[in-house]
Amino acid sequence: MTVPRTSGSEDMLRAVRRPVPHDSAEKHVSGEAIYIDDIPEPRALLHAYIRSSDIAHGRIKKLDLAPTRAQPGVAAALAAADLPTGHNDIGPGFAGDPVFAEQIVEYAGQSVFAVAAETREQARAAAMQAVVEYEELPAILTIEEALAQDAQVLPTVTLMRGDADKSIAKAPRRISGRLAIGGQDHFYLEGQIAMAVPGEDGDMLVYSSTQHPSEIQHHVAHILGLDANGVTVETRRMGGGFGGKETQGALFAVVAALLAQKTGRPVKLRPDRDDDMILTGKRHDFIADYVVGFDEEGRIHGVDFMLASRCGMSPDLSGPVNDRAIFHADNAYFLPHVRIVSHRSKTHTVSNTAFRGFGGPQGMMVIEYAIDEIARTLGIDPLTVRKRNLYGKRDRNVTPYTMKVEDNILAKIIGELERTSEYWQRRKAITAWNATSPFLKRGLALTPVKFGIAFTATHFNQAGALLLVYTDGSLKLNHGGTEMGQGLNTKVAQIVADEFGLDFEDVKITPTTTGKVPNTSATAASSGTDLNGRASLIAARTIKERLIKFAAAHFHVAPGKIVFANREVSIGGEKMAFVELVNLAYKARVSLSATGYFATPKVAYDPTTMRGRPFLYFAYGAAASEVLVDTLTGEYKVERVDLLHDVGKSINPAIDMGQIEGGFIQGMGWLTSEELYWDAKGRLQTHAPSTYKIPACSDLPRQFNARIADWSRNREDVVYRSKAVGEPPLMLAISVFHAIKDAIAAVGQYQISPQLDAPATPERVLNAIDALRLRLGDHLPAREAAE
């Protein structure tokens, strides 16, 4: 297959490279954008409620739905025994996620049965009338307990290069320690929701807030006993996804469809915020043990990492999430000798899932923490140690998984950011200021990001599109990607418009539907535009070539003399409106619709050996953050942040900037204020914004300078030489965590390194300060310790 190159000279572009507003901008500001809960409700609609387990682990002794079914308004109640096909698993790839628990419940929040009633209140009240009795079983609630009991959802994976033990033993210096990294709730503002509408022949139409319509279609068909051609899943837009709607929408879609099939009536299932947070998976929390051997310059000789993550009760996506953690435990640094052991721990808590970065952020945290420790051990500035360990351009440029780092632009990015953020001047000023400030301490950190782009599961790296050209010259496009606010549809419309020399507004993108483009991949792994933009471009190219061939024959002009620009077609110098050519072509019986299909080249790796090229390329960035910590309370404020991020050649700088700033802010939440807390019985206690604090407007850095590295260009042939931008900026926020750690270190005049776990809540910061003071008491003269 020949892959057409992105065409045209840069100065002919009308839509691409411009900061055109989001294609739903007017609808968003006027309240006209339709989310699933806003669709006019169909006649006879029922509302569903899922009753979930309130214990973490147990045997269902008794489940009696008769009292529920007798309640007013109830149309149906279904549990595992009532499933039409006997199929009861909606795990993606790996089994383990039942629609309804059978004999055993494995987390507090696991779906046990569901009710459909005339109103949501009736469904909920009726569900509470069922008799559910459990025999409680011992529950594994922490990663440590899981490790002690060898409880895993998937086997341990180990990546090795060279001889880690020997290199660490022979290295002049060595550090070791443990770091805990918290999880994160997606907190998409639009919660999970699905509405199922039964049709003819038992067919089912499901509106689902999902990043993965094809997988929802597959699960609905399988569980209901339908062929895939009897199930259509439609997603116009999501009110945020962030990975939380990659697999987690399936439960709600399948339950709505089951109840719709049972009753023959449309069913809507919209859990409330608390149920949404209790029932659905989150970012994996990790614990990591590190042993690092290095020299007096801070250069790493060898690392030995143990990563263990809380996968919860089932595999879900934990395999690839943890693989990606391994692939990013090097971040930007050359590690000559490596052993990374990755345990996928089973706990009786909700099954953790995809979340922007997909394990990459946790892997990166480990090496960044280790580097910070190296620097503090040696008394060298952490940025210097970071720079000394960066991947090289000609040598020291092979990752532990054997992929070569071919376009390393990090030295340039860091150099530029050092200058624009005035890192060294501020470092000096902050150190001096801290020496005179007894209670308030400032901290500064500059950290890099190198993030691999592609699905690590190679076969997901494909996409399709369907383009229709109408005789009035308007274009309608459908592609397999989903819009969740990231601006995918806008970028794709820009790409297609430019192929025909049209305006962005000439292209309408329709809701994603499994009825138009089949067998799509999740919109995930930052790959939405890379995949769907290219597939759409290929569809456009097909139609354009037909038009060129027709025009060349019709007007007796060489194909090379036919140019699409400025909403016109120049045919050997004669100009004609695009719509005119389309009409001529239609009358000459030229097909004006086409599919496009794209498969990412080059990527391939062997998951058994963890070797190969899992990524097509890397996206890079760096961030410098400064914080001000009140050492008496542990509270802090992010004072200034400078970001410099690589998006290749941007297709839409406004959208890319939104992703950079927004990703950073979301990452900052993960590492600072967002803390998940389960009680001693394994029940999530942080299930609403009252107790789970995502960043608010007031948490913005006082000074926030974000820039795109506008000189960058993707060396790989990605659409318009752009780079994926969805996930990488999230990890820029690691700089905030290290700035906080740096401020705490100032409490001890930078003589010893504070120990800090993530998220660095004020409570943890205060504890870290107290621990540091205790240690200082051992090391410093009594006068200072008594301060």
């Binding site: 900061p19 507003p21 989001h22 739903s24 901008a25 007017e26 609808k27 968003h28 500001v29 006027s30 309240g31 006209e32 954008a33 339709i34 989310y35 809960d37 806003d38 006019p40 997606h186 907190f187 998409y188 503002l189 639009e190 919660g191 837009r237 999501m238 009110g239 945020g240 996804g241 962030f242 409330d272 915020r273 969740m484 606010g485 990231q486 601006g487 406004a654 959208i655 900037m657 939104g658 700033e661 927004g662 990703g663 950073f664 802010i665 979301q666 609403a688 914004p689 009252s690 995502i694 960043p695 608010a696 407007c697 007031s698 948490d699 913005l700 006082r702 926030f704 974000a706």
Partner: protein
């Protein structure tokens, strides 16, 4: 942020079913007589009875701001407001901000500054910002950040939201 209301509670409807009350609200310039369960929130009334779905249900706990509307010019969380508390009130939702097909300056500023991603919090952000400007207290970017902290945006479009509000306020 929730305004208190010292008006008398509406009398139970004479002709309604047991437990329902009658009242009337003015929404976006149209008067709506309503007979409803006194437990109905204003949010559910707007979305489910008046088909004004621009106002969003985010957390239904008064903690996310997605349901922010204007009641007698003040920003109010519709999910924490019982409709019966607002008999006779003048309510403006996101659907009522544009006049004669012309967007409100804040709506226009949100587009110009790309002040949203997924858009779900946007109606609440804009209504909240209209209320903030009417309050007249926030004068600087810092004060805008503080006064908008009740409206959370998970996409993190805050820098652009603040910029849009600054533009609409005529701040540099």
């Amino acid at each position: 942020m929730i305004s208190s209301d010292d008006s008398d509670p509406p009398a139970p409807a004479s002709g309604g079913s047991a437990g329902s009350v009658s009242l009337a609200v003015m929404v976006n310039g149209t008067r709506y007589p309503l007979t409803l369960d006194p437990r109905c929130t204003l949010l559910d009334v707007l979305r489910e009875q008046l088909d004004l779905t621009g106002t969003k249900k985010g957390c239904d706990h008064g903690q996310c701001g997605a349901c922010t509307i204007l009641v007698d010019g003040r920003r109010v969380l519709a999910c924490l407001t019982l409709a019966v508390m607002k008999d006779g009130a003048n309510i403006t939702t996101i659907e009522g901000l544009a006049k004669d097909g012309v967007l409100h300056p804040l709506q226009q500023a949100f587009i110009e500054h790309d002040a949203f991603q997924c858009g779900y919090c946007t109606p609440g952000q804009i209504c909240s910002a209209v209320g903030l400007i009417a309050e007249g207290r926030a004068q600087t970017a810092d004060e805008i950040r503080e006064s908008m902290s009740g409206n959370i945006c998970r996409c993190g479009a805050y820098p652009n939201i603040v910029a849009a509000i600054q533009q609409a306020m005529g701040l540099p």
